[in-house]
Amino acid sequence: MKVLVVGAGRIGSKVIKQLKKSTTIKLYTVDPRENPQALEQGIIEKIDFSVDLIPGEIIKIINELKPDLVLVTTSWEDISKTGAQGMEILVESLNNELESASEYPIISVSRNE
């Protein structure tokens, strides 16, 4: 099973850690940062796709990879260090756009999970 995890930050690293428990899951990650949390903590060795976490870029990867499942773990910390006002709403709206644009199953993982 091919699973693409969007975002390898605070939530992404937790998700990746859980997914790695299964040997049948072939895991791919997307994150624009050089050293996101999942990499920093040694949960993964490399980021497979380094693109901005915006729908158009991610859709290109999804269409190329054809995953069985996409897990979107993006939170505002993954996009901006400053945490500008409205950032959470922006991230939620970006994820909504991604869900509607994708022809493959996408699940957004809440920041509380």
């Binding site: 901005d52 915006i54 729908p55 158009g56 859709i59 996009i79 901006s80 400053t82 945490g83 500008a84 006002q85 409205g86 950032m87 959470e88 709403i89 922006l90 709206s93 970006l94 909504n96 756009e97 509607s100 644009a101």
Partner: protein, 467 residues
């Protein structure tokens, strides 16, 4: 970035600047408590500008400092949080969340895209209209945050990368500017409007409709100029964008569901009552001020909660920053007034305003407001300067308070040049969609044009004795 004390460096800058004001010699004519109030102003301005902590915490710290400097008693330190205007803002923030929960903003945006037929000018006009319309009633930054991803989706339909980027920048700027302009029209539209209205209501009857009488025409004048400015700044080789995707998205959303319809109906009724509540109050024999905007807002939210259309989980993530910034602004304004600092500043500013023709005063007020709002929070600008302008008008019968207060407050709309100017600009800057220098360039030119248009508008309104 933190230091050895474990505190953010930005916070130390805030504290150092505040202490600097406190230790400087007290200017002649200013009392000691007046100087402390000025220090509170510096603290408020810098903590909102630098944001060493999120805006809601920064807002709360302002109350603590004002109490700590002896400018208020601890019993009344947080009094401004319970003002009707604050409850009105809370109600509007909760209603906006209901709109967001059911995806109504996105639905409206998709509808406008489909209606545009894909023409770039029409598309920009449609998205800007939605941004403005919604920003009149809900928080401007939240509106922009919902619409920016829609702009991303549209621009992705263009294959040529350079054209796609240009379209994205134009749409995103259009959304941010329009969200700001929409906020001019109502008391709930922006934090500075709310602060100014609260101070105006202390000296005269000042209703929701009173603000709209000047705010809405200003919006109607400035909106098309902003749209035209963007159209002229960006040239494209393509004329139309493929809108099949938005069309499909809209179809996928299906017809309006019962709950969505109910949210729209409640919002429309709320807006009608905000505008004409006193008329219904008199006709229905209700207790005086029962139909005040704050109570109407809370009734609307309560209704939605009772019907299960919104739950606490939906509203707890509202933009608390705006709520706390307004309360902090009001607390600061009160502290400046009580301490005599407002009076002291009035004596400095008054000769400039009184000694100049109205046109020159307007230019000074609007452009000072534009410059200040790019650096400090717009609620702070209103909190400091609105009481001063009210005092000038009260002391000179040739002035009406709104002749001075409204141009200054509406001038805070045009914080377009820097990320620190508004939540919208900070958001765009954080996404990296537009290079900082381009944001500055477009922002400066448009601020200048919009400022001149606003000055002309108020000059004509004054000339026609309509204010």
């Amino acid at each position: 970035m933190s230091n050895k004390l474990g505190l953010p460096n930005k916070f130390l800058i805030v504290i150092l600047l505040t202490i600097l004001v406190l230790v400087l010699p007290t200017p002649s004519g200013l009392s000691l408590s007046g100087k402390r109030a000025l220090a509170a102003f510096v603290f408020t301005g810098t903590i909102f500008a630098l944001q060493p902590v999120p805006l809601p915490f920064a807002g709360l710290m302002v109350h603590i400092l004002i109490a700590g400097l002896g400018l208020t008693e601890s019993r009344t330190a947080f009094e401004s949080l319970s003002r009707p205007i604050i409850i009105l803002i809370l109600g509007s923030l909760f209603l906006a969340e209901a709109l967001r929960k059911y995806g109504l903003t996105r639905r409206l945006a998709l509808k406008s895209i489909v209606l545009s037929g894909g023409g770039i000018k029409e598309l920009l006009f449609g998205l800007m209209s939605i941004a403005s319309l919604l920003s009149m009633w809900m928080e401007n930054t939240a509106t922009a945050a919902i619409l920016i991803p829609v702009a991303l989706t549209i621009s992705n339909q263009v294959e040529e990368e350079e054209q796609s980027n240009k379209i994205l920048i134009m749409l995103v700027l259009g959304i941010a500017y329009a969200a700001s302009i929409g906020g001019m029209a109502t008391i709930t539209g922006s934090a500075s409007n709310a602060v100014a209205s609260e101070f105006l209501s202390e000296i005269r009857i000042w209703t929701f409709l009173d603000w709209m009488k000047y705010g809405l025409p200003s919006l109607i004048v400035i909106f098309p100029i902003t749209w035209y400015f963007l159209i002229k700044q960006f040239k494209f080789t393509i004329v139309k964008i493929d809108i099949e995707k938005p069309k499909k998205d809209l179809e996928d959303l299906g017809n309006l569901q019962k709950n969505e319809l109910e949210v729209i109906i409640i919002l429309v009724i709320t807006i009608i009552l905000w505008i004409s509540g006193p008329i219904f109050e008199a006709k229905l024999g209700l207790p005086p001020s029962f139909m005040s905007p704050a109570i109407v807002g809370v009734i609307a939210v309560s209704y939605l909660a009772l019907r299960g259309i919104i739950v606490w989980e939906d509203v707890k993530g509202v933009s608390w920053g705006m709520f706390f910034a307004i309360a902090a602004g009001l607390a600061l304004g009160d502290a400046l007034k009580r301490s005599g600092a407002t009076e002291w500043m009035t004596e400095i500013i008054s000769p400039i305003i009184k000694g100049s023709p109205y046109l020159l005063s307007l230019l000074l007020l609007v452009f000072a407001s534009i410059i200040l709002t790019n650096i400090i929070n717009n609620a702070t600008v209103a909190a400091v300067f609105v009481p001063i302008l009210i005092q000038i008008a009260l002391a000179d019968p040739s002035f009406k308070s709104i002749q001075l207060v409204l141009p200054l407050t509406m001038g805070t709309t045009f914080g377009y040049a820097l990320p620190s100017a508004s939540g919208r600009m900070a958001l765009i800057s954080a996404t990296g969609i537009i290079p900082q220098k381009d944001m500055f360039r477009y922002g400066m030119i448009l601020s200048l044009i919009s400022g001149l248009v606003l000055v002309s508008f108020f000059y004509i309104v004054n000339f026609l004795n309509l204010i």
